[in-house]
């Protein structure tokens, strides 16, 4: 079932980290939901034979569960390595199965990319960061059944998130698809929704010199369920996806432009790295959430108007 059929509009939220707990509890009137990466409650144990398993930190989990009784929760996974040709990290799903038993969530999402690869000798290497998928038919064939499985494994729908990449020529390799073509094909061939990370997309547009408006205009808008916004830094001429600062004005403008086009949008999440908390301070973070909330209200007004016209 497509996700938009079953979801309620949540509003504006922030990613969860225990360092943000005081801020979130204090501002529950502003923060409509939290986005939880359950991986952060775990450590990874790597056995001598290279097998991996998660070890849960019950105290960290309990703190998040307590907050989850105060506001809705959505899940944003980090460790599945969805696109690994040599097999995804199945232990992530075991961990998410256990988490779901304790914490209901409205939907779950993962990044379009991979981190793990098995070598010819059977050993496994880790990229150390999320690497992009090439926009090829082979990648699509690998991803679609996996995504479809994720759409049905839990009672909550699944969203795929576009990512930032810095390696060149991903669009020109093998055939002429670009990121938007690839995302649209993933959406056409599966029941997943899209977690559109506007900041990631903006980084790619700046780093590789394309027009984000022209590209996004080709996106299948009705499948966008959630939007991520964030800020970062420029390094060696590249805009980096580090979630360390305020959202750039250009991304706010993109958000305002795209909002009225998204009939099934349910949430806008401001993503922030925990290390940014002492650097930015609470007031600046809250100002970002408030700006987000006013755009969310603008979005609701636009939808109401469009619905009235349609009626």
């Amino acid at each position: 079932m497509l996700p938009q059929k079953s979801l309620r509009k949540l509003g504006v939220g922030v990613n969860y980290h225990w360092d943000f707990q005081d801020l979130i509890y204090t501002h529950l009137d502003r923060i409509d939901y939290i986005e939880v990466s359950p991986d952060i409650f775990c450590e990874e144990v790597i056995a001598a034979n290279n097998s991996r398993h998660f070890q849960l930190d019950a105290r960290k989990l309990q703190d998040a569960l307590a907050l989850g009784r105060k506001c809705p929760v959505i899940v944003h996974g980090l460790g599945l390595s969805l696109g690994s040709a040599s097999g995804w990290n199945a232990d992530y799903l075991t961990m998410l199965d256990n988490y779901e038993e304790q914490q209901p969530f409205c939907w779950h999402s993962e990044h379009l990319g991979f981190t793990l690869v098995k070598n010819p000798d059977g050993s496994e290497d880790h990229a150390g960061l999320l690497l992009p998928m090439p926009f090829t038919a082979e990648a699509l064939d690998l991803l679609c059944p996996r995504i479809q499985h994720l759409c049905t494994r839990y009672s909550a729908p699944f969203l795929i998130e576009n990512t930032t990449y810095y390696l060149p020529h991903f669009s020109s390799h093998a055939q002429a698809w670009d990121e938007i073509d690839f995302l649209n094909q993933l959406l056409a061939r599966t029941d997943c929704g899209l977690l559109l990370d506007l900041y990631n997309f903006y980084c790619n547009a700046i780093n590789f010199g394309f027009d984000p408006y022209a590209a996004l205009a080709r996106l299948q808008f009705d499948r966008v369920i959630e939007i991520h916004i964030a800020g970062g830094v420029t390094h060696e001429g590249f805009l980096l996806d580090v979630h360390s600062s305020e959202v750039p004005e250009e991304v706010w403008a993109l958000l305002e432009w795209i909002l009225p086009k998204l009939p099934n949008l349910c949430a806008i999440t401001y993503e922030l790295l925990e290390q940014a908390l002492p650097l930015m301070g609470e007031a600046r973070i809250i100002a970002q959430l408030d700006r987000c909330k006013s755009l969310w209200n603008y979005y609701l007004d636009c939808r109401k108007e469009l619905d009235n016209v349609a009626a």
């Binding site: 980090l78 040709a85 981190t115 290497d125 880790h126 990229a127 150390g128 060696e236």
Partner: protein, 203 residues
């Protein structure tokens, strides 16, 4: 070039080179050119740097005393060697710390004090994980002998003051998941106070 080969190549490139693996691939001229373009790109350098920053931040946050001691004893190159040459295995803190500990234990340039210190920091991580798991069993326990007063060593590393000389005897640190502070210092079998140093255990 299959998707698996593309991914193996990309992971290899983010670690600096594809090494022997590249020779085993049957690359078309177009594929060879594509990989060469990536190899020569600024984007690859940035990707490598991001990977190294994250890794450095994992090591610095889980083994701050050891990192400081390596720097103080002129072994910054050993940290760089770990970050740049050792294969990446994980994005998680405890697993990275364990890998760093094993690397230091096997490194000829690293002295006994540093090896004991990384064992202490890794032990604290293991003990705190077990304590947080709310399990009564299994427990974690480790006993480490120091050639100087470990409390003075920690103070020196945390405050930037001179390191104590390694000529004292009888100091022992016990790391134990059943202790409230996770660790305790003994001298000749008697408990040494460590209340000013609890910031180390409280990490």
């Amino acid at each position: 070039m299959s998707l698996l080969d593309v991914q193996r190549s990309l992971v290899g490139l983010t670690r600096g080179s594809m090494g022997a693996y590249e020779n085993a691939l049957q690359l078309t001229p177009g594929e060879q050119e594509w990989l060469t373009q990536i190899l020569d790109s600024k984007g690859l350098q940035v990707t490598q740097q991001i990977q190294q920053w994250w890794r450095m931040s994992r090591v610095c946050s889980t083994a701050p005393l050891t990192i400081e001691l390596l720097k103080r004893t002129g072994l910054t190159d050993v940290i760089v060697e770990y970050i740049t040459n050792q294969p990446v295995r994980t994005l998680f803190f405890a697993a990275e710390l364990e890998q760093f500990k094993q690397f230091l234990e096997n490194h000829a340039q690293v002295d006994t004090t540093t090896k004991t210190l990384i064992a202490f920091e890794a032990g604290i991580k293991s003990a705190s994980q077990l304590a947080s798991a709310n399990l009564t069993t299994p427990t974690f326990s480790l006993s480490l002998k120091f050639e100087q007063n470990p409390l003075e060593l920690f103070t020196a590393l945390l405050t930037g003051t001179p390191l104590p000389s390694a000529d004292s005897q009888g100091f022992q640190l016990v790391v134990d998941s059943t202790l409230e502070t996770l660790w305790r210092c003994y001298r000749n079998g008697a408990i040494s106070t460590h209340s000013p140093y609890e910031q180390v255990a409280a990490r």
